[in-house]
Symmetry: C2
Subunit: 397 residues, 2 copies
């Protein structure tokens, strides 16, 4: 009945649904407060109060025909200009509205970028551990995703292996910074190394290789580390941004895609992503929220909440004896499992009512992802369970 | 630089942009009030007042983490239930939330449906004149769109030619009712004939052929004619609905896709469209507006405005001597041009500052589309220009 491409996805999805339903059944059986669900990357802090104020004001002041109306598929020009101005102030860049297309979150931005550049059989390289949907996004356009394994010391990309994965079919590289699920930040030195390899390979193969930066977690940083603005290091950059996490608006599907002037074929590429936005069926980013994010461009959901969770979780797990990568950004902690088969650990954790995602879902086995965008109480109350797990595996201090 | 598939789209898009820019230049040169732009299908009546009220109330009453948050990719279950209940009341159906997936307008619904069912090389049949994007949507999944020419007497589908276009590769049929651009409504008799052909062909080829109904104009009807609910006539139906026109919210991208229980492979198909929604990058329909449309399900933008425009335009053009198809729904009038090459007529009309879309854009030459979702004054003030055109072509009464 359904297409061959979708068959595999439907099959795989059932597995995820079973996991989700199990969690719901557990919550029913044991009470939601006794189930520690760390499986979802769903922001759980409210949007800044200003979001509400701006919506109310827009409803009063703007003509509804404009406020809820169609506009250029790239979005309202004045919204794009405001975002460009804000980026220029923060990153010393010189963008304007012609560099920015509003889209339905970073996910749709990635799809537009990939649809714009990929021919069937083209390859895209990314860095494990990586967001599982990248594979599906690339497959939408009959491309092939290749993953570079990380240096397990610090979860920075293995640059040599990166270099060896690029060939004449490579059309794009996707980075996710800060990284979901590892929580690490690729610093300036790392970005420079990635850019150097890509420049060299562009020369070697005589073709453009686009660096697509997926940046929904850009503003969620807990250390002094800076998240480099990639277009300053590599000219053929495409940046996909989402307000989902910054403003806690994940359900509203609002973000943008940025192509700098210096990017090869900027004008044609910008037309292509804008048309992709249209023909994928998104047509344009939701109009009211375009205007909302423009007015809230300097706002940020209160990430002190995540910071507190992060510290409690990291300290708690380390005290138990677990080996954790220190999260620098996003809201995930990637933890080494005391057993090679992390799926076994996930199953054992479930017995303690702790729900985790196996690293193999991110192409990086031997680890689990713990999403700490949860109630503080969930973290504190899950610790006895983690302690028991540590004891069971003989790693408790 | 860009993919082969996008190259043609970018090239074609430049033509449309040139047309649009010409219109803007004309407005600058002659004053916007002296340019009669009938080229865009952009609703120009405000959303019902209740939309504003509901948004304000939701902002006060709902937890922002839920209101702006992720939900199941199919949408909030209670929203889907409300829509199902409303349909059941209106059409004597028996849908529930499991039949409805919220999506970013009918355009994205169509994409999800096509992604769910098409393998490369599969064929989709539609009825000319048809919305130009259908071709792009089908091409997204490497399908081939075939068009049935209308009976030019009444612009109803030519059923014999429809039957002859279906073969073993046909996976779906798209109908758009009321029709853009012809403004006609396919009545019960027509839907029954279409269904009968499809049932016969399903048997002949031993496979499902899905009837995808694109219904953004369902509530925009100016006569007593009823728009049949297709699932009551054909079991393998998929209905794509948008609130863009009904509630004048085109920029907000909110609609739904409906698959009835009796549709072959309902459960698997519903999973497939929901996953398609996710992997296309839309993820979910905008959350706030899901709740808004549920609360405004019985509201309708004031279509008396379009009705008045329709009458003035139809009478005015007929008085000039033009041969018009009487519009029954949507907000388009399809007019026979007094010269076979309608592009020549479009060029001549431009000299009178009248902007029209040639029928060949809808796979139906010899006609032009006149979108009457414009100011009433535009219609009245354009009439001297239409009169001159009629005189020029020697058809004036």
């Amino acid at each position: 009945m359904i297409s061959k491409k979708m068959e595999a996805l439907v099959k795989n999805n059932s597995v995820i649904r079973v996991m989700f339903e199990e969690g719901q059944l557990m919550a029913k059986e044991f009470g939601a407060q006794n189930v520690y669900d760390f499986s979802l990357g769903n922001p759980n802090i409210p949007a800044p109060e200003k979001v509400r104020e701006v919506i109310k004001r827009l409803l009063e002041e703007e003509d509804p025909v404009v406020l809820h109306g169609y506009m250029n598929n790239a979005g309202f020009p004045e919204v794009r200009k405001k975002i460009a101005d804000s980026l220029n102030k923060r990153f010393d860049t010189s963008f304007d509205e012609n560099n920015i297309m509003m889209c339905s979150g970073a996910a749709e931005g990635l799809n537009c970028a990939l649809k714009a550049v990929l021919n069937p059989g083209d390859e895209v390289v990314t860095f494990a551990p990586y967001f599982v949907e990248y594979k599906n996004y690339v497959a939408n356009y009959d491309g092939i995703l290749k993953a570079v394994q990380p240096d397990r010391k610090d979860f920075m990309p293995d640059i040599e292996s990166f270099s060896s994965l690029i060939n004449s079919k490579t059309k794009a590289v996707i980075i996710n910074n800060p990284n979901n699920p590892a929580g690490v930040i690729y610093d300036e030195d790392t970005i420079k190394k990635i850019a150097a390899v890509m420049e060299e390979k562009e020369k070697e193969y005589g073709q453009e290789i686009y660096l697509i930066a997926d940046e929904p977690y850009r503003e969620l940083v807990y250390t002094d580390k800076k998240v480099p603005y990639v277009s300053k290091y590599y000219k053929n950059s495409i940046i996909c941004y989402s307000f989902s996490k910054t403003l806690s608006l994940p359900g509203e599907r609002i973000g943008y895609l940025l192509i700098p002037d210096e990017c090869a074929g900027h004008e044609e590429l910008f037309s292509a992503v804008t048309i992709a936005n249209r023909v994928i069926g998104c047509v344009n980013a939701p109009s009211l929220f375009q205007k909302v994010v423009a007015e809230c461009i300097d706002e940020k959901a209160d990430i002190a909440f995540y910071a507190k969770n992060r510290e409690a979780l990291l300290n708690g797990l380390r005290e138990c004896g677990f080996d954790c990568i220190e999260p620098e950004g996003a809201f995930y902690l990637f933890m080494k499992t005391p057993v090679e088969d992390e799926k076994e650990f996930v199953a054992e954790a479930k017995k303690e009512h702790i729900l985790l995602v196996p690293g193999s879902s991110f192409c990086c086995s031997g680890y689990v992802r713990i999403a700490y965008c949860v109630d503080y109480g969930t973290i504190i109350n899950s610790m006895p369970g983690f302690k028991k797990l540590a004891e069971r595996y003989g790693i408790s201090k």
